[in-house]
Symmetry: C2
Subunit: 208 residues, 2 copies
């Protein structure tokens, strides 16, 4: 299968979120211009993205919402789902594990890891926490392919190396250290301090 | 003052994070190629960004780290600092308020708001929580210009409208609803589910 660009994947993920809201509201069909408006993009962009799913709209009705949700799922997810580990079960790590538990059934947080050995064996925010020494064996036994990093800055590089060595295939990095990973690992990084500083800068500018 | 592009602001914020680590490690000067390597960009990009701060490197020594940190601070922040409110003091909101407390002294989380009235008046993760009915008066009295949104999806649009009406100037939206704000409000959005789904997609692709 051809690999879609990251930006397309992001949009498909976001369309699905809106489509799930449609289902909740009892809406069975949606037009490309409606989806476009919800996401502040053009209808052409929406239609182009949905063509990748081999879907076109029904004349005067739009796209069938439920089928679209399914088609996006088939594109984005593997049928058996994927397992996720959280590295660093502090405040942010446990908040994320709780937040993620409810949102995507095919992405399951199945283990947490923390350097603090007093957390080992405990259930934190619904997830069992393990010692770092167990990383490799748990990743194998639980078939975990994705790691979310919420460790402190000082531990980021080491935690990333441990995850890669343990055979993780994708990392979502929430620490504010820019990481380097081997070619066979997919890395996505988000630094909330940078986002907040950006907002602060533009607010400051608007006040000057 | 000319307004810098968002991407430049993001890089300056990230350079500063690395420079603060340099200070901790007793490193007084840094070359553009070192900063470039840390952030996976070209030295030319680094030099171009730092020229905006009216800084150039010292021959054979590089850039003076502490002065650079100060210059970035002057560019990004207002001298008196900016106050931040968190809208939605659930798991994510309280984790963020704790996380942010330690990181940027010029960006201070001074209030939390939650629809759950049993939280009113309580200190959650170091931040006093208020009822939504107090929003406008607290934003005025505490001089809050930035709002971080961590409410549930169903409350996102209303919470955003309340913040804008209360006079907030910038919003960092962590809900997965794409929002619309008036022209005088700066909006930055981040959806962690989308990031995670992106990682999952590329991991799935690598396994096929």
């Amino acid at each position: 299968m051809t690999k879609l660009p990251g930006k397309t994947i992001e949009r498909l993920s976001q369309y699905r979120r809106s489509l799930l809201v449609c289902v909740e509201n009892g809406k069975d069909y949606i037009f490309s211009h409606e989806l476009a408006e919800l996401h502040h993009i053009t209808p052409v962009q929406v239609r182009r993205d949905l063509m990748l799913l081999a879907y076109s709209s029904v004349y005067r009705k739009g796209y069938p919402v439920r089928q679209l949700i399914e088609a996006i799922g088939t594109k984005l997810e593997s049928p058996e789902g994927q397992n996720v580990a959280i590295m660093g079960m502090g405040n942010l790590g446990s908040a994320l594990s709780q937040y993620l538990a409810s949102v995507r059934p095919k992405l399951k947080v199945v283990a947490g890891f923390d350097v603090d050995s007093s957390k080992s064996g405990k259930i934190i925010s619904g997830v069992k926490c393990h010692a770092l020494s167990e990383l490799k064996s748990i990743i194998d036994s639980e078939n975990i392919s994705i790691g979310i990093m919420t460790v402190p800055q000082s531990a980021a590089i080491e935690a990333c190396e441990l995850l890669c060595k343990a055979g993780i295939k994708g990392i979502l990095n929430f620490t504010h250290v820019s990481l380097t990973v081997p070619d066979n690992v997919f890395l996505e990084e988000y630094d909330m301090i940078t986002s907040l500083e950006k907002v602060a800068y533009f607010v400051k500018q608007s006040e000057e």
